[in-house]
Amino acid sequence: MEKTINKEQIRKPENLVYRRTPLLVDVPLSYCPGCGHGTAHRMIMEVIEEMGIQQDTIGIAPVGCSVLAYDFLDIDMQQAAHGRAPALATAIKRLWPDKFVFTYQGDGDLAAIGTAETIHACNRGEHFTMIFVNNGIYGMTGGQMAPTTLPHMRSSTSPYGRDVEIMGFPLKMTELITHLPGTYYVTRQSVHTPANVRKTKKAIRKAFENQKLKKGISFVEIVSNCNSGWKMNAVQANKWMEENMFPFYPLGDLKVDGQIVEKK
């Protein structure tokens, strides 16, 4: 009985349980093999699909590897100057308070050149969502050290590892903005395992739903890999991330519904 089931019988439209969301434009993504940006894009678009808000969402693309996000996400998009996505999002959200507005930024964009925009948008309590993809380096330009680079982590501009005596300490932007009164939901997730992908999707959903409440910024950090920049393959990079990034950038909620989550 069992043996009579063949692939043609299983591969029928009524048995379809997962497919790439059509809200992602049907083109190859420009990212390196195994890069977390692709999964992060897909989760955002699945949330938008489920909420039925494709026509009401405006995304802001950053400068960085994800600068081309406007080619991949089938929604209205604007591209901002390096680090200025929160400023652009502020203008758009204030002009169209009922649209769903989000920024999508890397760590070089959000936590280096865009530090001022990030902090002030979070402190003003704008009502948009920020998606922060933290891979610990400047991916696009060739793996240079970023504010988020871990101590002793090698990058193309810290080839012997980040020496905190000379190069300063890594910046935990997510912890920093948690303590600003203008943030309503702050969480840190990842997209390297199925369980984490599901959690990230839930977090993005919550962040988008929060926009209806107009109570401040919803901020989702996604700790991700940059296997090209880290000079590893994708599987090694995900393992390295678990062993090195997560102890420094622990996953979980930092602020929920305006209340800081107390760590045990």
């Binding site: 048995n15 790439r20 993504l29 692709g38 199925p194």
Partner: protein, 77 residues
């Protein structure tokens, strides 16, 4: 008794051969091809019939190249 069977369809030309899907499959269904696709990558694909349609591989695929099917079948004891 009912049993769940599944299958995956990989978009071979979109697969970049990152192998992230291989390790997350609880049934060890996925392997990498010997041949390469148009871009020169060894692409992922099912190597046995143990797929249960759990979606794990499709969730982690950065390029969203995996489509998953799942159906229930009655099996005789």
């Amino acid at each position: 008794m009912a049993k769940v069977v599944g299958d995956i369809a990989v978009n071979i030309e979109r697969c970049k051969g990152c192998e992230v899907c291989v390790g997350v499959c609880p049934q060890q269904v996925i392997g990498m091809s010997v041949e390469v696709n148009g871009k020169g990558y060894h692409y992922a694909g099912p190597v046995n019939d143990k797929c249960t349609g759990c979606e794990n591989c499709a969730l982690v695929c950065p390029d969203g190249c995996i489509t998953v099917y799942r159906m229930k079948v009655e099996v005789e004891q």
